[in-house]
Symmetry: D4
Amino acid sequence: MDRERLHQLLDQVAGGEVSTADALEQLAELPYADLGFAKLDLHRELRNGLPEAIYAEGKRTEDLLAIVARMLEAHGRVLVTRVRPEMVAALAAAHPEGAHHERARIWTFGQGAPLPGPPIAVVAAGTSDLPVAEEAAVCLAWFGHTVERGYDVGIAGLHRLLGRLPALRRAGVVIAVAGMDGALPTVVASLVAAPVVAVPTSVGYGASFAGLAPLLTMLNGCAPGIGVVNIDNGYGAAVLASRIARAAPPAA
Amino acid sequence: MDRERLHQLLDQVAGGEVSTADALEQLAELPYADLGFAKLDLHRELRNGLPEAIYAEGKRTEDLLAIVARMLEAHGRVLVTRVRPEMVAALAAAHPEGAHHERARIWTFGQGAPLPGPPIAVVAAGTSDLPVAEEAAVCLAWFGHTVERGYDVGIAGLHRLLGRLPALRRAGVVIAVAGMDGALPTVVASLVAAPVVAVPTSVGYGASFAGLAPLLTMLNGCAPGIGVVNIDNGYGAAVLASRIARAAPPAA
Amino acid sequence: MDRERLHQLLDQVAGGEVSTADALEQLAELPYADLGFAKLDLHRELRNGLPEAIYAEGKRTEDLLAIVARMLEAHGRVLVTRVRPEMVAALAAAHPEGAHHERARIWTFGQGAPLPGPPIAVVAAGTSDLPVAEEAAVCLAWFGHTVERGYDVGIAGLHRLLGRLPALRRAGVVIAVAGMDGALPTVVASLVAAPVVAVPTSVGYGASFAGLAPLLTMLNGCAPGIGVVNIDNGYGAAVLASRIARAAPPAA
Amino acid sequence: MDRERLHQLLDQVAGGEVSTADALEQLAELPYADLGFAKLDLHRELRNGLPEAIYAEGKRTEDLLAIVARMLEAHGRVLVTRVRPEMVAALAAAHPEGAHHERARIWTFGQGAPLPGPPIAVVAAGTSDLPVAEEAAVCLAWFGHTVERGYDVGIAGLHRLLGRLPALRRAGVVIAVAGMDGALPTVVASLVAAPVVAVPTSVGYGASFAGLAPLLTMLNGCAPGIGVVNIDNGYGAAVLASRIARAAPPAA
Amino acid sequence: MDRERLHQLLDQVAGGEVSTADALEQLAELPYADLGFAKLDLHRELRNGLPEAIYAEGKRTEDLLAIVARMLEAHGRVLVTRVRPEMVAALAAAHPEGAHHERARIWTFGQGAPLPGPPIAVVAAGTSDLPVAEEAAVCLAWFGHTVERGYDVGIAGLHRLLGRLPALRRAGVVIAVAGMDGALPTVVASLVAAPVVAVPTSVGYGASFAGLAPLLTMLNGCAPGIGVVNIDNGYGAAVLASRIARAAPPAA
Amino acid sequence: MDRERLHQLLDQVAGGEVSTADALEQLAELPYADLGFAKLDLHRELRNGLPEAIYAEGKRTEDLLAIVARMLEAHGRVLVTRVRPEMVAALAAAHPEGAHHERARIWTFGQGAPLPGPPIAVVAAGTSDLPVAEEAAVCLAWFGHTVERGYDVGIAGLHRLLGRLPALRRAGVVIAVAGMDGALPTVVASLVAAPVVAVPTSVGYGASFAGLAPLLTMLNGCAPGIGVVNIDNGYGAAVLASRIARAAPPAA
Amino acid sequence: MDRERLHQLLDQVAGGEVSTADALEQLAELPYADLGFAKLDLHRELRNGLPEAIYAEGKRTEDLLAIVARMLEAHGRVLVTRVRPEMVAALAAAHPEGAHHERARIWTFGQGAPLPGPPIAVVAAGTSDLPVAEEAAVCLAWFGHTVERGYDVGIAGLHRLLGRLPALRRAGVVIAVAGMDGALPTVVASLVAAPVVAVPTSVGYGASFAGLAPLLTMLNGCAPGIGVVNIDNGYGAAVLASRIARAAPPAA
Amino acid sequence: MDRERLHQLLDQVAGGEVSTADALEQLAELPYADLGFAKLDLHRELRNGLPEAIYAEGKRTEDLLAIVARMLEAHGRVLVTRVRPEMVAALAAAHPEGAHHERARIWTFGQGAPLPGPPIAVVAAGTSDLPVAEEAAVCLAWFGHTVERGYDVGIAGLHRLLGRLPALRRAGVVIAVAGMDGALPTVVASLVAAPVVAVPTSVGYGASFAGLAPLLTMLNGCAPGIGVVNIDNGYGAAVLASRIARAAPPAA
């Protein structure tokens, strides 16, 4: 799967250092740790640039603790999204140095080394969009990015957004979070030159249809330069923004 | 149905001027002209303030001609929406003084008397929204209103909209037409104090889903003061705007 | 953003009364109060004619108290929609003079000055539509309008609606609230000359699909003159109706 | 399948008149005629009270001719819905005594014997709903029912419907056809005591979504007593209405 | 609205027995009782053949008690659907002679006089469809009809349905209730000559989408003669079936 | 219905061993046991190769106990899906030898005899898909199949799936369970020659729309050889896989 | 990707027969032929048991000719689905021995060797479903399977289906094709023990929504043992059925 | 709107170089050229980094020619998407040096200066996705980027994609285009560290629902790092990819 790794392995096989059977074994078994109920992708950081995060939704607390322990052993740091209160208590008992980010529903241990490059801006249209925006912001900070927050800047009061414009223009990427009409990312994309990551939220009256309305708005934004992620998916927005921020060409 | 008319009729029955049987007859039969295949609501102007318009879609040309003739006989003026080219030819032959409004797909004969009050603004986000915007504008003019057009003012270039702001602020009502993200009415509603009539159009890439995307955006607009009409329904927007403009309180 | 304000500011800059840097500062910062987690749009009344209301859904009680306090400081009155019982208790403790409107799920403090013009009618199809209808009615009263209520007048018993016809004909605007088939606004629009604001509700059996059915009915109403707002959005209907009622031309 | 037939067959087997093998043969093979590409259900009239109609959509003209010939041989009469012009020409050439009902897109040969009972009313909201309404009316007449038509009686002009009320009240069943808001069946059901068969049509502006809007309206009608059939399905409405009209209890 | 009533009233006005003003008063006010929060349609039995039922969903217990009391005063009997346990307790306390039908979630007081005509069959595909089927059956019995129940006869075991065939063939109308694939009504309609009332239920795995799947199946049933009502709407099915059963032609 | 059975019965009737009336009786009544509220299809194993399973959702505990008792009497073994904790307690009390499979939400008594043939593989994309995958696996084991589990092998880490490839290639059928993007079955179908049964799950962020997204992905899979079952329907997947595994041609 | 191939390649590398660089080259390049605009998967037969078919929809005729030529060179036989008339002419000119299957919209050259095992049955509900059913049947025959066709056996006339029951019971797999209500696969699955492949078609009146209705019916079928493929996808059904038929356990 | 421009303008006003009235005039009027039917956003390159492209869909040829002429005057280069054949002829006549990109449905004049940085990869799943992929690739080349194409690499033959892996790993951004199951972007995102721009296409069988299926798959991709654009929107993907490629941090 991993061509460089495969290349090296084939070289070792060719050199007689590794037998064919062992090579096959390694190829399929090496890159993850099998806990029985889960297979941890310890290899992901090498392949994709970011370690795997743990999505707590639908997991049992004891399973989560086992996964966290194994990830800490492998990486020395871990990020858990969508933690429930009882999980936080168990995690705090096991790892007192960990940190709980309440609004973001995230628990972290350790932190990525500071990354170079311009800050990443996270703007949200309304106060109800805060949990999703904070999920993105906390993830970005844990990855090592500098984050600029700008909340409650929806287009019902354009001047509030304009007040954030200088900060938005300094950012290398902008994450724009909005429910209801979902128009914020389009307006932002028309005002800045940076790529915009759009996150629809499930906030709103009936015909928002749990986020379908802002999702469609963002996909149909008349100002190009917007990439849309799933409804309420602050974590996904952070990963995409981080990939973008790290996509810089090597300094000549 | 019509209480005043009923009152008068009952008085006449009470006074012996009209028999019971005749009253019943009149109640059910009077207000429309029956062409067999259609019943023309000649009464609508009295009841709702505007004569019935003719929606040409799905009608035969000969039926349309018959309806137009009967309406002209009753009112002296008529407005036909969604006319097809062959209909226009037939109408022009029968009524050379009529006018064809090509972009709006409308044919008119005569015109309403000028109505007092502030102008009604019609703004459209993109050039593809013009047919719908023109349908609204031509109807309004035929009703007797003053119309202010402002086209290609979508939020991908907010300065184009801001250039129209003084005109928008003078308007008693604003009709905002948009496809794609459909965010224009929300931005307009945040900038003016007048009521905004929002018209989604079926223009756009795939996930517009034939106008569903801007429709949902408009219903979920985070700035209140917006009333939404059906997709591509410029005529409906004009009628609503006209009702609003004529809803003024009697000068004390 | 606000052209008049900008005009004045530019004059001051031109006159040397305000420096360029200060002007920029004011342009972006002046019109709202930043509470950190929220930016209050203290300017909205000047711009749109109505002060910003507070939508309590998804807010914390302590945040709501802070916002209410700041709004009262700025305006002397405030309206909060979708209040939960625990919020009402906290608000009552902090502001004993405030009023709780239970059916409408609204808390208010103070009231707008009485506004001139004809009454605004609020009609609802069934008893289950009452919370939404009351949300609209309480908002209108707080804005300063005279309100005429007519409830349980759905088209399953047309005579109940006809009994309200004289009141409907006196109104400058009619708000029609309906779930299930959502046909009430269309019937009302065919009987009166005033603009009709239609509010679908999420009441009904399965295939209402949480309000989608009445929403589509209202958008497709065969009688024109109807502006539709979001499902269950009584507040939005009130703001639109208020804008319409205040859209009167200046008395010559 | 057919219990009475099975009963008789079993009696014959028991009586030695029919062998077991023959019985099986008859059970599976008897009731239809196999044309290779189609199996004609010659048995349906006995089972369901009405002969099978031919739905021409998607059939080849030569196949249709073969089917019609076989049905005429079996029943002496036939009804074909959704005929295309080239089919009509071929049918007319082969069976000059057949009749083409243009608006209804139906071709018939022969006719059912007159059926007793009250007339069946067919009402349609707008002129665009005529093809569907006529499909229902022509089918009913061919079945042998007396039909009362009332077209262009939509709720935008309630008085037009009220003018038809006495005729509606005389009907044993009412078929109500409507596109757009689809409110006509609900209003009819609130005014008469007979069962109402509701047919949504695909006529209308964008948010009708090809008939979805009136379909949902009819399913959610607040006046009970309505049975809904598929969009544009005039034939299905006629069959249901005919079954209802023939569901009379045996005269004591 | 009610033509006969209107006729009589006009006669009285013509005869001087009733003044014009009184007539108007009566016209709009007579047929319902206004409880403030609700308007009871005491007139419905005369107009539609069945008294209005009370839909308890979303009502307060005290309001329900008031409505029930007023209905009993007017009619001497009442039927309440979708009663909650606390309502049942309150109703039992106030009216000990009333009856609670637990599976059907219905409370009744009194009963309609037995109606002539053939029985009405109620069949349900699975045990989970029982609450909806029982809602229909209890309503029918209360109206005065004879009811034949046949439950758990879904098409996964066709022989179970065939075992009910003789009973189905005796029925004047068949109500077929089904969730999941919703195919039961189509199969029934192909086996009997009576009209079939189809009720989709919200029972089933994920892609049933809360009843959408059986609803669409029933609308698309390839055997004609089916009228569909709303999802889970057993009451509506009963009213339609009752109207059908009472639609018999006058005995010659 | 059952041709062989019918054949035999007809022979008995022909031979005079069974009377016509008795035959009819047997035909309709024999194959199921009627508990009043449910009809148990005791015949299903003969007809379809597997005994009927009990779907506990929406059943009362006492009804479930009665059904289980009757099934055990007829078959000596039973499988109940979607059991709730209180049901498990009651079942354990009545049948202590039964087994509860917690993750799978299944209760079983007895077990099918081991079936010949290759193993059936059950793979799941994420840990949240485990309940559905386990429902399938436990059913298969109870039917008598050998099961190979492979969990947490989603395409976000293709190497985890490749590690299971040899096991997948040995399987006669593969059940692939996935939520979110639902791409696992397509990738599996491109790598193995066996048929793939795809099960979408309702796991995921907002725009999964409760399983609609993976359902559509699976239906549109660009690698053919996939049969899709309902969302979260592990039981249905097991039955289909079992039918496939038992569809072997008779050894020559 | 292909483990056996990888195993062999690794052995060759280990044995020095193949260099590391060559191995990599082969791994990525070998299994397909690159025509520039398309990459032909010549390897698929080895991997999945069936050669890749050509889907002509949206291809240019000259591209199709090039692809067919290359496939014939590699395999000596080819199957093209969804051919348009102009393609057929060009294919016939280039390869006169090829065969055109008109109803199925398929062009084939050569044929697979006869495969052992029981026949595969293809049944279709109505005559309009024939093109899809024929697409499946022609593909199966080309793969080498014996096919049993049974058309026009929809559930509106159950006896027509019952007449095919013995043939269905002999089949190793049944493909059931249906539009409209889509109930045929469920009824078939309740009558046979073989796995059923269900194919919804886009045939039907309005609320079929281009095949959505039968698709949902099939996913929700109350008789388990059904695997659903995409709307109108006869080819996909054939591949799945073929995989199932070839999934037989090795004869002991 | 444009803060820098506003800053400069305010300085000029402060310095007396520009009058207040002129400043207002410039603010609203400067940045676009008004052609009456369209307002060209000549300012966009400065604001967003890329000049405005012309979307030809729904425009008249003469309007397009006027817009192109004005854009060439302002920028010296222009890009037109979705050109129809008759437009290409007219453009070629007016501007013989322009270039037509047939598969991409694009017409260009001139070209952007080469941009530094790594190449941008464009991969497509099937040959039917080529028009959309080419739209993206041609736009990128015109912007000045180096483009790496890789077509027909869908996941039905993973080895075809793996053959492109080295090229994908060299890219700074990857645009992945796919219809049907839409799984390609997810697989790509799991194999590379660069951001992935996902474009769903409307290619596929029925249940693709014109691109909805791949759209949902992409939004729900289990590998993070994907930004989704509208269905078939190759141009939007190119703009987003270009923004990302130009978002590099300034070399230290």
